[in-house]
């Protein structure tokens, strides 16, 4: 299970809406409890360094990645994952996402439809290199 602080969730959505129609990307920081529950306390938005079609692809530069690792150390957080947006597409990982996916990381995908926030979901790679959905526990109940 993953718990995303409401303000952090809002920051991610704002980044995704602001970057539309391109894909946005960034890092997730927080703590992992002993029972495996992840608590996302902050994000770090970074540039989409993909050369070419940023509407369908994202890439994070290695230097931004190293900055993120350092950022986690500085705040005594764990680098728990990555978020990115799917413009005009549901928040379901694509084959591109799966191929490049790292173990351990939570992959939060924010779906933006026609410039407006639609929904977000989180995914985690299993031992067979396939994504499994990670339940997001929102503070609010529907």
């Amino acid at each position: 299970m993953i718990i995303i602080e409401p303000q952090v969730r809002q920051l991610m959505i704002e980044d995704a809406v602001g970057t539309f129609p391109d894909e946005c990307c960034g890092f997730l920081f927080g703590r992992e409890e002993t029972d495996g529950t992840r608590l996302i306390l902050d994000i770090l938005a970074v540039d989409n360094s993909k050369e070419g079609d940023k509407r369908r692809r994202f890439e994070i530069s290695p230097l931004d990645y190293m900055t993120a690792e350092q950022h986690a150390l500085d705040h005594d957080w764990t680098l728990l994952g990555v978020y990115h947006s799917h413009p005009n597409h549901p928040a379901i990982p694509s084959e591109h996402d799966r191929k490049a996916a790292q173990p351990f990381f939570s992959y939060v995908i924010v779906s933006i439809m026609n410039g407006e926030f639609s929904h977000l979901r989180s995914w985690l790679l299993n031992d067979d290199q396939q994504f499994e959905e990670e339940k997001i526990n929102d503070y609010q109940l529907s």
């Binding site: 894909e23 990307c25 993909k50 079609d53 509407r55 369908r56 692809r57 994202f58 890439e59 994070i60 290695p62 230097l63 990645y65 190293m66 690792e69 986690a72 764990t78 680098l79 728990l80 990555v82 990115h84 799917h86 413009p87 005009n88 597409h89 549901p90 379901i92 990982p93 694509s94 084959e95 591109h96 996402d97 191929k99 490049a100 996916a101 790292q102 173990p103 351990f104 990381f105 992959y107 439809m113 026609n114 407006e116 639609s118």
Partner: protein, 477 residues
């Protein structure tokens, strides 16, 4: 000793250690030492050929080794080596399948566990041909259109009649007299603008069936007669399409899934396995003759739509290999198992049918129709009446029909015609009528065969035609 910084995602393979000390040398030496000490790291650092994976970057200080001497880059005592996973991804290449409006429309499907987006996508990609847009076709089309089946084909030759509206919920009074397929298209397009509707305002027959059926993934048979049912079955089997079948009569309904190939490649039985031969013509009356409770096609057609959705999505167990019967009077359901027959002429051991045949003939219709039958039109009958011609007029409908409307004929219901043959004149012309001309034709055939009558005339189009042509002020039913 040089220092290697392990990225967070790979620390579970290094006993949660972020910084490791390695002996100096080259990057290649470093990678070898790491994978020797922590074998689980190997698949994340190296590809199948033993080279460094394209998704892994190795930095010496702030420089990518690709910009230095690659894996031969020297590592000194104070070097800090960072393993940096490439973080990348993106949306699928194909255009998005659903718009925002469609996602909202199908939300109650998408959120069902075990159905979800995957099944909804299959519905959108599916092409379903619904044959007959009447009692069964109405609920089938309404529910499949509402569910988001991407392409629906509708075959019907008929026009909307007021007597259809007791059960054919696709239509309204404004559409009486209009082709059913056009009325259906208007209604369904108003229900779901996100789907494609193809209409065929034609009789399905041996000449056009394969051409129409070939473009679809699933066939839904909602026809009301045996020749078309065998035709739909054979076309489905010849083209390898699943055929979701339903039929209704009075208070009883039947549903099955024919010619369905499961995920293991096994194809289930078809209509000819259940009914190798058609019933003798006239034994089983149509709904127009025998009647049907209006809500029954609503129930059975909904079950048919359900099976279509299961066939498309692969969710659940279909009725393939099973035959379901619902008796509305007693509220009883039964499900029988059916199996492929070795002597099935279309796909048994020695198939004899490899193309569509003449289904009217197969069902014995044509042979009967070929017998000459004297006919009289409503206008001609009226002329006889006006001129005072001597003839006897007999009505073979049921008493309750007679009470609704009659044209002054003697009432002898079809089932009692033989017993009442003595009431029928032999020395002058006799005109026999029913509602539409079907039952009166049967009565004439029976009287001719059993008693040798030669003076019988069938009123073409029955009392309905007479009302249209001669007395429009009378009640039609």
């Amino acid at each position: 000793m040089a220092t290697v910084i392990i990225p967070t995602p790979l620390r579970k393979f290094t006993n949660n250690t972020a910084r490791l000390q390695v002996s100096a040398g080259t990057i290649q030496d470093t990678v070898n030492e790491l994978t020797r000490n922590f074998p689980d790291l190997k698949k994340h650092l190296l590809d199948d050929g033993g080279g460094i994976r394209s998704y892994v970057n190795i930095f010496v200080g702030n420089n990518d080794i690709r910009d230095l001497q690659q894996e031969h880059t020297a590592v000194a005592e104070d070097t800090v080596i960072s393993i940096v996973p490439a973080i990348a991804g993106g949306s699928p290449d194909q255009p998005p399948l659903f718009t925002k409006e469609e996602l909202a429309r199908y939300n109650r499907h998408i959120i069902i566990p075990g159905f979800g987006m995957e099944a909804q996508q299959k519905l959108k990609k599916a092409k379903v041909l619904v044959i007959g847009s009447g009692g069964l076709g109405s609920p089938v089309l309404l529910y499949l259109a509402a569910a988001g089946v991407g392409t629906l084909g509708i075959v019907d030759f008929d026009v909307v009649d007021d007597s259809n509206l007791q059960r054919q919920v696709l239509f309204g009074i404004d559409e009486i007299g209009k082709p059913k397929v056009e009325a259906a298209r208007r209604r369904l397009a108003a229900l779901n603008p996100h789907i494609q509707l193809n209409i065929y305002n034609t009789h399905l027959n041996s000449g056009n069936a394969l051409d129409i059926v070939k473009d679809y993934d699933v066939i839904a048979d909602g026809t009301d007669n045996f020749p078309t049912r065998y035709l739909v079955n054979d076309a489905s089997v010849l083209l390898g399409k699943p055929n979701v079948y339903a039929s209704i009569f009075q208070f009883e309904g039947q549903v099955s899934v024919f010619n369905y190939t499961d995920s293991k490649g096994n194809t289930g039985p078809n209509y000819r396995d259940l009914y190798p031969t058609p019933p003798p013509p006239g034994l089983v009356p149509s709904c127009a003759e025998g009647g049907v409770l209006g809500v029954l096609p609503g129930i059975i057609g909904s079950l048919q739509a359900l099976e279509v959705i299961k066939v498309i999505t692969g969710v659940g167990e279909t009725l393939s290999g099973r035959f379901y019967i619902f008796d509305a009077l007693n509220f009883e359901s039964r499900t029988f198992n059916i199996k492929p027959r070795e002597d099935n002429p279309i796909n048994g051991k020695n198939p004899t049918i490899n193309a569509l045949i003449d289904y009217e003939q197969f069902c014995g219709m044509r042979a009967v129709e070929e017998k000459p039958l004297k006919e009289i039109t409503a206008k001609e009958l009226y002329d006889w009446q006006v001129k005072g011609e001597k003839f006897q007029l007999i009505d073979v409908r049921e008493p309750h029909e007679y009470d609704i409307v009659n044209i002054g004929a003697e009432l002898i219901p079809l089932a009692t015609v033989a017993d009442n043959a003595s009431r029928i004149d032999t020395d002058k012309k006799v005109v026999i009528h029913c509602k539409m001309g079907g039952r009166s034709a049967k009565a004439i055939r029976e009287l001719e065969e059993k008693f040798g009558f030669t003076n019988l005339y069938n009123l073409k189009g029955g009392i309905l035609s007479y009302i249209d042509e001669v007395q429009p002020e009378l009640t039609k039913y």
